[in-house]
Symmetry: C2
Subunit: 228 residues, 2 copies
C-alpha cells in the first residue's frame, strides 16, 4: 500500500518507520522539503534533525504535502494539531478525496504555556474540523490516545489495552482497523466509538494522558477499557 | 465515621447504602428535606422516589445540606455538577472547613440537549471551583470516572481497573484512598494524579465515558491504566 505520512516530527517518523518495516511505500509530507532537509539541529527534545533520521530510512521519500498525498492510497495526519488544517489544505482537497485519512493528531495549544489546552474542545474536535473541511475524505480518528512508540508496537505495554476508532464511514473504519491489526493490535483491542463526533472523547483524553505522564514518569502506558 | 452525602439521586443513594453497610453513620443532605420526602413519583430514569428508597435504608437520615455537613467528619459531594457550588454554599463554609470533601460530581451541562457538555472544561474544573470557593475544605476529586454501582463495588468489573485521586492535601488524599480501599478498591488500583488541577483530566473523561456507554450498551466498565 502507498502511504503518505504528513508531518516530519517524531510521530510521523515513528509511523513511517513501522509502515516501511511492514512492506509499504511511504512518502513523508512536509511544507517545504528543502527547508526540512536543511535543518541540522536536534529539536527541543533532543531528537535528531529530519535529515539525520532520513539517512537511517532510505526507503522513505520526502515530498511536499501535495505530492505526498497525491501519490498515496492512504493519508496519515501526523502533523501537530494546531497546524493540521493548514497542512491538509496544502495537501489538497482533490488529493484527499475518496481516501482513508487517518487522523492521529491532537489539537493541543501550547501558546499559553504548560499544560497545553485543547482547542477545539467539548463541542467540537479536530477530527470533525478536518471532516467538515474535506468532506470527500474518509476521516478516521485513531491512535491519538497514546505515545507514538506504543501506537506502532502495542506490546511495549504489557496486558490488554485499547485503541479507539471514530468515523462516519464504516468501510474506512474497517480499513483503519486492518492497519491497526497489521501493526500488532489484537482486533479485540479496537473499540469503535461511533461517528466522527466521538473523537471529542478521545481528544479529551489528552489532559489526563499528560498528567499520567507526569505522575508515572514514563510514557509506556495506555488506556484499557476494562469490562468492554 | 460520620459521613454527609450531599445529593439524593442514585449516586448519593448508592454511596450512602455502601457506607452504612461498612458501618458508618450517614446523613444525606438535600436542600429541603420535606420537599424531598414529599415527592412520590419515580424519576425520569424509572428510579423510585427518595421516600421509597429511604424506607429500605432506615439507618440513613435525611437533613438539610447544612445540618448534614455540620454533623459529619467527611462530606461527599454527590450532587449534580451544575448544582454543586450552590449546594455546598448551603452546606456552609464553616461546616466544610478542615474536613475531607470528596468530590465525585461532574460538571455536565444538559441544557443544550444531548450529549451534555462540560462546563467548566479544559482550563478549569468543578473540583478547582469548589476548592477555590471553600479554601479551608480539603477537596479530593475521585470516583467521578465510573458508574455509581462500580464506585462502591469495583469487582463488578472483572480484572484490574483504575480509580484516580486529585487534590492539594496529601493527608486528605490518603484518607480518601483509605475510604476507597474500604469500599473494595485494591490500593494498587489507586493512581494519585497530583494536585487539584489534575481533576480537569478526570472530568474530561466524561465525554468518552458517555460514548462508551452507547457503544457497549452497559455501564459495568471502567478505565484501566495499563503499564502504570
Amino acid at each position: 500500500m502507498r502511504y503518505a505520512v504528513l508531518g516530519t516530527g517524531v510521530v510521523g517518523r515513528t509511523l513511517a518507520t513501522r509502515l516501511v518495516f511492514l512492506g509499504h511505500e511511504v512518502s513523508i509530507g512536509t511544507r517545504d522539503p528543502e527547508a526540512t532537509l536543511a535543518r541540522t539541529e536536534p529539536d527541543g527534545y533532543g531528537n535528531p534533525s529530519y535529515a539525520v533520521w532520513q539517512d537511517s530510512q532510505p526507503a522513505v521519500t520526502l515530498a511536499t504535502f501535495a505530492d505526498a498525498a497525491a501519490g498515496a492510497e492512504v493519508v496519515v495526519n501526523a502533523t501537530s494539531g494546531g497546524a493540521s488544517l493548514a497542512a491538509l489544505a496544502e495537501a489538497g482537497e482533490d488529493n484527499l478525496a475518496g481516501k482513508l485519512l487517518v487522523d492521529i493528531a491532537n489539537p493541543l495549544d501550547f501558546s499559553r504555556g504548560m499544560p497545553p489546552t485543547l482547542d477545539p474542545v467539548n463541542t467540537d474536535s479536530l477530527a470533525e474540523q478536518i471532516q467538515r473541511a474535506f468532506p470527500a475524505a474518509k476521516v478516521v480518528k485513531t491512535l491519538n490516545t497514546m505515545n507514538a512508540a506504543v501506537m506502532v508496537e502495542p506490546s511495549r505495554v504489557a496486558g490488554e489495552h485499547t485503541v479507539f476508532v471514530s468515523g462516519d464511514d464504516a468501510q474506512a473504519k474497517e480499513q483503519a482497523t486492518a492497519l491497526l491489526v497489521e501493526m500488532g493490535w489484537p482486533r479485540t483491542s479496537v473499540i469503535d466509538l461511533g461517528d466522527i463526533t466521538s473523537a471529542r472523547g478521545t481528544e479529551m483524553l489528552l489532559p489526563i494522558w499528560l498528567r499520567l505522564w507526569g505522575a508515572l514518569g514514563h510514557a509506556d502506558y495506555n488506556f484499557h477499557i476494562q469490562g468492554a
